[in-house]
């Protein structure tokens, strides 16, 4: 059992949990994730390690309430316990002094982006960050991102704060202004990553994306997380989750991520019925 020692509501639907997990905290690197299961009947869901504290032996996850499990997790409070937690899974982000790196986060994707941006800064890079959300209320980790970035741009779909539009608009502008960009890291909804990759491709700017296919074990044994990269089948949980965005078949992944839509809706319905 893994105890929740801190909870914070970053927005009505985005929550932060700090969980006691000394072994995982000891090994965690930016870019890696955990898989958790709340209780006996629970589903295993992956969440990125948004932060870790080796001394305290804790890891932090930040998540958006989208369905049954994340909603249930969002209701948990300090002192509650999570039944299963395994990690750190996946490969750490590649870390070196690349030069200038543009870090792009969309929605809750800013959470996993934060430790990567911080590590990139510590590795000597010039970090330009672009973070976006649907609206002001859903924007997370603005202060934290500002602290680790040389420049920070904000966008919202409805214009309630920052640039009215998409993160890709700012990226396009930076490129068109002739800024030298050595690498782009984009984490967020699949459609956002796909658009970003479309922007950088003509300029041949190396673009890393973090993929979020549906997972079960996270140890490379089921293939639920398989994605097509450069025409080959790869398992995101062990070969990723980060891949060269220019090689990813986003259309296939988007379709595969809707495999269980009906069941997911039923799960939420059932949960609401039981919780009444």
């Amino acid at each position: 059992m893994y105890k929740i020692i801190r909870k914070e509501d970053l927005s009505p639907v985005v929550k932060l949990l700090e969980v006691s997990a000394p072994l995982i905290a000891d090994k965690a690197q930016p870019g890696q994730f955990v898989i958790l299961r709340l209780d006996e009947e629970g589903e295993r869901i992956p969440l990125t390690i948004a932060d870790f504290d080796r001394e305290k032996g804790t890891i932090t996850v930040i998540f958006l309430e989208v369905g049954k499990t994340t909603t249930q997790l969002g209701k948990m409070v300090e002192g509650d316990k999570i039944l299963n937690l395994i990690g750190p899974l996946g490969n750490p982000s590649e870390m070196e002094d690349f030069g200038t790196v543009v870090c792009i986060g969309g929605g809750v994707g800013v959470a996993p982006l934060y430790p990567i941006a911080r590590a990139l800064k510590e590795s000597g890079n010039t970090v330009i960050s672009i973070i976006g959300a649907r609206c002001k209320d859903l924007l997370i980790l603005e202060d934290e991102m500002r602290e680790v970035s040389d420049e920070l741009y904000i966008t919202t779909d409805d214009g309630s704060v920052g640039h009215h539009g998409f993160v890709s608009d700012i990226l396009k502008r930076l490129i068109e202004e002739g800024r030298i960009i050595d690498r782009v890291i984009a984490i967020g909804p699949l459609i956002m990553m796909k658009v970003v990759v479309g922007v950088t491709k003509p300029y041949d700017i190396k673009t890393i994306v973090s993929l979020n296919p549906i997972m079960v074990d996270g140890t490379g044994m089921c293939g639920s997380c398989r994605v097509i990269v450069g025409g080959e089948v790869r398992f995101a949980c062990v070969d990723g989750p980060e891949f060269d965005g220019h090689l990813v078949d986003f259309d296939n992944l988007m379709k595969r991520n809707t495999r269980f839509l009906e069941e997911e809706a039923k799960s939420v319905e059932e949960y609401k019925r039981r919780c009444r």
Binding site: E43, I86, G87, D217, G220, C222, S224, N252, T258, S267
Partner: protein
């Protein structure tokens, strides 16, 4: 009195009923049946049956005890060599092992050794199993990686020798394939739980949610423990690499079975993990794994469940009983058929597959006649779910994380007969050293490694 040529029939759930539930199919022998069956044994000198058992159970001795109605003694005799008899009695490929060698098999039907083993194991479990005496603590600690049959056997043997054993398992529950692979209707999880309890009562501690190579490294284990056993199995699903394999509705056998067995998707939405099954399901392959998938699909509501296999029935690697059971339940076998391409609909979901007919040519390296495509025999079959069950390879996670471990070109860890690897004090056994094999072979490897580890610890 002449011996009976035929064995006692085991009661089974009616096929029409059982495809509507996940309860166990065979119902086991009654006491009377077990004694009757045991009486058929000829008590051969130099019994051939024992040579067929990879863990060397003294088969005639335990059968004699059953014939005498001394069931306690029978189970004690089995447990000297086998810590999980309720499991092996159910899943061993008896027909090619103990029963395959049985003298009675030449005169009629071989003695139902597996069923007898299962009978006494079940009987004991109902009464609560006795814990054998352990040797006094040696003060040595052994780490066991993985919790499948190889690991559990190794752990229990080491515990009996007085060593402290900790088992590290990546998944949330111990048992390996017995937990996530083999379905409830073939091996009830309650039985596995009780066999696990027995191992725990011997003093073995299980730590779940621990992926060695990620959560902890092999080096760290070596620092903290006097020896390490690796029994991480062969869990990496193989693909055919044909067009359309990434369509929705196509599962690896591992994904399908893990969702259903480990995560209990067959009880969705009470359990949160979903599995989607269509009306026409094709399972590719004809091993035990494939039979489990095809039969599970029926229980989840598939209207038609097919087995697609590129060779003929004779070459099918599954246990005979599984093929018989699958057929009784309505699984349709398409032998000498290979899928060559999957066709998707506008939602990227599989709607059909193109197959080609095969014929058997010259024998290959394995001695089986290899299938060759019959030109121009392509045809299209409508399917909405495909389960790929063409085999598993060792998961490379641990061997990639620690380059000191020597591996073969098949990805298996190099080890000698007793499990010694290229690193002193690190042993391995089961599917991780042999490639996908059987429960009892994994147990045999675990047992031999335990002996070698015990010796190593004495000299260390």
């Amino acid at each position: 009195m002449p011996v009976k040529k035929t064995r006692q029939k085991m009661r089974e759930q009616d096929p029409k009923e059982r495809i509507k539930n996940f309860r166990e199919v065979p119902l086991g022998y009654t006491r009377e049946q077990a004694i009757e069956e045991a009486k058929r044994c000829l008590h051969c000198k130099d019994p051939p049956c024992m040579k067929g058992c990879p863990v060397g159970i003294e088969i005639p001795r335990f059968i004699k005890h059953i014939a005498d109605g001394e069931f306690d003694k029978a189970i004690a005799a089995i447990k000297e060599k086998n810590a999980l008899p309720a499991v092996t009695g159910r899943v061993c490929p008896h027909e090619i092992q103990c029963e395959g060698q049985c003298t009675m098999g030449k005169l009629g039907e071989p003695i139902a050794i597996g069923r007898l083993e299962r009978f006494v194991a079940d009987l004991e479990r109902d009464k609560g199993s006795k814990i054998p005496e352990r040797m006094k603590p040696t003060g040595k600690k052994v780490a066991v990686v993985g919790s499948g049959p190889a690991s559990l056997t190794c752990a229990s043997h080491l515990a009996m020798k007085g060593h402290k054993v900790i088992v590290f398992e990546a998944l949330s529950e111990a048992g390996g394939v017995l937990r996530y692979g083999i379905p409830e209707f073939r091996l009830p999880k309650k039985i596995l739980d009780e066999e696990l309890n027995y191992v725990k009562k011997l003093g073995v501690e299980v730590r779940a949610d621990t992926l060695i190579g990620k959560t902890m490294t092999l080096k760290e284990l070596q620092k903290e423990y006097d020896a390490v056993f690796i029994g991480t199995g062969a869990g990496l699903p193989m693909w055919m690499g044909v067009l359309g394999e990434n369509l929705c509705g196509i599962y690896s056998a591992n994904e399908f079975l893990t969702r259903v067995n480990l995560m209990k998707a067959y009880r969705f939405p009470e359990y949160d993990t979903p599995v989607r099954i269509g009306e026409r399901v094709a399972t590719i392959g004809a091993g035990n794994v494939a039979m489990d998938c095809a039969r599970t699909a029926l229980r989840l509501g598939a209207k038609e469940s097919y087995i697609i296999y590129r060779r003929s029935e004779e070459e099918a690697p599954a246990r005979r009983e599984e093929i018989v059971h699958a057929r009784e339940e309505g699984v349709v076998f398409k032998f000498l058929t290979q899928s060559v391409r999957y066709i998707g609909d506008e939602h990227c979901c599989v709607k059909a597959m193109e197959c080609i007919r095969m014929e058997l040519g010259e024998p290959d390296k394995s001695g089986r006649r290899s299938p060759v495509p019959v030109e121009g025999s392509e045809f299209v079959m409508d399917v909405d779910t495909v389960i790929v069950a063409i085999g598993q390879r060792p998961n490379p996670l641990l061997t990639r994380a620690d380059k000191r471990l020597e591996v073969t070109s098949h990805g298996t860890i190099k080890a000698d007969e007793d499990g010694r690897t290229s690193i002193p004090g690190v042993f391995a056994g089961g599917d991780i050293t042999t490639g996908a094999a059987t429960v009892i072979l994994a147990m045999g490897a675990g047992q031999r490694a335990a002996k070698a580890i015990d010796e190593y610890l004495k000299n260390a």
